[in-house]
């Protein structure tokens, strides 16, 4: 919460009306920044340029940066083979569902742990904390057999539901709800409002920035998730983008121009979203991370 505030305020205060002059140290720092940025962007730029080459040109030795002949063949081929559009839809379906369920479930649980009393709360809280150490990477095989038993291998639900119990998100919201002044709620209780109404009309609106952070972070994580969808889906029709790109090769062999175009298509949605919602996302990442301090 505090980070959201500070980043927002610094973002504003950093841009003074009258620009400060270019001091020598600023010039050096800016040049350094440009150089480092170039290093970071270069691989993506290389991918973009390669995706605009013909396949033969993309495999030339030695390689070169700019296409000699600019062509959109790789992008067209992606659309015509159709797999990628399928995977795109699948990624969207899975990520939206995961984000929605996580938001609802972890907001409720975070509030429940922070503000309500029930038997065995501390034990359950401890259990949730221990869940922070479990991930598909750690417990993949048993998790798979569990999902297999439920008959959910190769289904959307098999991909979605196991991603919907993130202890970390509950913990972040739990921390936030603990900081909400009790007075606000109790005033409403006096007015005769029930727990649920207080939660929905007072607490949730207050928590919007935190919920946005959790939602954004969950969406990024789910969109980019590879390991679990890789384990639980075998049917190429149901694969998400990261999984499909990695495991289903183009039938004509590794075609770098197409592979790069596909990769960019998988990465672009989040990059575009980032450009538009940069402030919220930065705050969100910082927030989710800082809550763990």
């Amino acid at each position: 919460m505090t980070t959201v505030g500070t980043t927002a305020s610094t973002a504003r205060s950093v841009r003074p009306r009258s620009r400060r002059p270019w001091t020598p140290s600023q010039i050096v720092l800016t040049l350094l920044g440009v150089a480092v940025s170039a290093v970071f962007v270069a691989p993506i730029a290389a991918a973009l340029f390669t995706s605009l080459k013909s396949e033969a040109e993309a495999a030339e030795i030695p390689p070169h940066w700019l296409p000699k002949v600019w062509t959109a063949q790789a992008w067209k081929a992606l659309w015509s083979t159709g797999n990628l559009t399928n995977w795109f839809v699948n990624s969207l379906v899975v990520s939206v569902c995961v984000t929605t369920v996580v938001l609802v479930v972890s907001a409720l649980a975070g509030y429940g742990f922070a503000r309500t009393e029930f038997r065995g709360k501390s034990v359950l809280m401890g259990m949730v904390m221990s869940g922070l150490m479990v991930s598909p990477a750690v417990l993949g095989v048993p998790l798979f057999t569990t999902v297999q038993q439920m008959g959910m291998v190769d289904t959307y639900w098999g991909m979605i539901l196991p991603q919907c119990a993130p202890a970390a998100m509950v913990y972040i919201l739990y921390k936030f709800f603990q900081g909400v002044p009790r007075e606000l709620e109790e005033a409403a209780f006096i007015d005769g409002a029930g727990r649920w109404r207080v939660f929905l009309t007072i607490v949730v609106p207050l928590a919007r920035p935190s919920l946005a952070a959790v939602g954004i972070f969950t969406f990024i994580a789910s969109w980019n998730n590879f390991l679990w969808p890789y384990m639980v889906t075998n049917n190429p029709d149901l694969m998400t983008m990261p999984n499909g790109i990695a495991t289903v090769m183009n039938s004509y062999g590794i075609q770098w121009a197409q592979l790069m175009a596909g990769g960019l298509m998988a990465g672009l949605p989040l990059i575009v979203v980032f450009v538009f919602f940069q402030r919220q996302i930065v705050a969100g990442v910082a927030h989710t991370g800082l809550a763990g301090q």
Binding site: V153, Y156, D237, M249, Y252
Partner: protein
């Protein structure tokens, strides 16, 4: 000022709501966009592992099939070759969500739990579409028969070959009058050939590509030369390891010498080196379309019999029916029809370098004039294959465990004699281990045909 802001917000909220509702609806349907679009046609899902030139040939054959059978929607998916493919196929079959048709290396069939993860072929249906047992080499057909039922329908035989550049070898005087590479019968002769080739080749390239870093190729080459030496793996009862460490050492030292004598640049991409002028490369026959496509003047023979006897590593692609609890009906028949079509129209497949398993294809004039296919078709008569045990087969446990050991010797990380001993120890361990699918060791007949 307020109005548009409000409207935009409402619009965003509506769009978000629709996205959420749509996503949940889609997830509830659960079939994926492509299956929805396929509609009422008989849909055959067909998983394969063919990339490169093979992939292109397979797609051409599928397109021809589609044209002749408009009522059958073929959905082919090419998965990453090797472990990901077998893992995905096994898991799909175990989860009862398998495709109608799949491709598998024959060596893997025994360990793939036929009857549980694989369904048997319906011989009568196959015959209806023109595929009968008598059209096959009996030994090959029988590799796919387990407990009296056919589980794997052979498509081809593919072998490891010694590719050579005719233009370079001619300069070195290594071509015979027939335009083919002169025969080599001992290691000394072989290294002599390499030495002569190196003298005339383009500088900066390696003399021969050996896939020194690749555990699969190194393992296949090992199987080939170990078989040339007459090496054995196990006794018939599968209780004893007969692996001959001395012979294995001989093979490993042979590989290593290519590196120490500087004929190989470890890690250099072998195919590209060959195309650019490296005189030799050892590759699977699937590289034929690549090299032919590059308009090279080249030939291909079985791996040279440097230990005195012909033998080259061979495997077969075959069609399988991954287990579906409700297998049957129109989709099952369509799967049979598709497999039979591809098997009987395999001339196109032969262009990919593979030796067709369906014998009528082999005797056609068109096949007999294919080069360099006609130069190495004899390889099918002296195949070196892995032992028939549950842990064998393409990228199977055996190859996975022993392949890296061969690589470590060839690359010089470990001495050949020590590696041969380690291989023997590992073989003993594998022989004693139980097939996880049925809990039986190889000696107890753990899923051996």
């Amino acid at each position: 000022m307020e109005r548009p802001e409000l409207n935009r917000r409402r619009l965003l909220a509506t769009a978000g709501g629709l996205a959420v509702a749509g996503s949940f609806g889609f997830a509830a349907l659960g079939t994926g966009a492509d299956a929805l679009a396929a509609g009422a046609d008989t849909r055959v899902r067909y998983w394969n592992l063919f990339s490169g030139g093979d992939g292109a040939n397979m797609i051409a054959m599928l397109d021809a099939f589609r044209k002749e059978h408009p009522g059958i929607a073929v959905k082919d998916s090419t998965l990453q070759w090797g472990n990901p493919f077998y893992t995905k196929l096994a898991m799909a079959a175990a989860g009862n969500r398998a495709p109608e048709l799949g491709v598998m290396h024959m060596g893997r069939v025994a360990g793939f739990s036929p009857g549980r993860l694989l369904d048997p072929w319906d011989i009568e249906l196959l015959a209806k579409y023109g595929v009968r047992q008598q059209d096959y080499n009996p030994a090959l057909w029988n590799r796919g028969v387990i407990d009296g039922r056919l589980y794997a329908l052979p498509l081809d035989i593919h072998v490891q070959l010694c590719f050579y550049r005719r233009d370079v070898l001619k300069k070195a005087g290594l071509l015979g009058d027939d335009g083919l590479m002169i025969p080599v019968t001992s290691t000394d002769e072989w290294f002599d050939v390499l030495k002569k080739a190196r003298k005339v080749q383009k500088k900066g390239l390696q003399t021969i590509g050996l896939w020194t870093n690749d555990q699969n190729f190194q393992w296949w080459f090992f199987v080939a030369f170990y078989t040339q030496l007459g090496g054995q793996w196990f006794d018939d009862a599968r209780t004893q390891v007969l692996f001959d460490a001395d012979k294995a050492t001989q093979v490993l030292e042979f590989f290593r010498k290519h590196v120490t004598d500087g004929y190989v640049i470890p890690g250099a991409p072998t195919g590209e080196q060959f195309i650019n002028g490296a005189p030799f490369t050892w590759e699977g026959n699937w590289s034929v379309p690549v090299f032919s496509g590059a308009k090279l003047d080249y030939g291909a023979t079985p791996l040279p019999p440097v230990f005195g006897r012909q033998a080259t590593h061979a495997e077969s692609h075959s069609f399988v029916l991954p287990h579906q609890s409700g297998r049957g009906g129109a989709t099952n028949e369509a799967a049979h029809e598709l497999a039979a079509y591809v098997v009987t129209h395999a001339l196109q497949w032969a262009a990919g370098g593979h030796i067709p398993a369906y014998r009528p294809t082999l005797s056609t004039e068109a096949y007999k004039t294919l080069t360099p296919q006609n130069e190495y078709v004899s390889a099918m008569n002296h195949q070196a294959t892995e032992p028939k045990v549950w842990f064998a087969g393409s990228t199977g446990v055996l190859a996975q465990d022993l392949g890296p050991m061969v690589v470590s010797s060839t690359m010089g990380s470990a001495g050949p004699a020590a590696v041969a001993q380690r291989m023997k120890k590992e073989l003993a361990k594998l022989l004693a281990s139980k097939n996880p699918m049925d809990g039986r060791t190889a000696a107890q007949g753990g899923a051996v045909a």
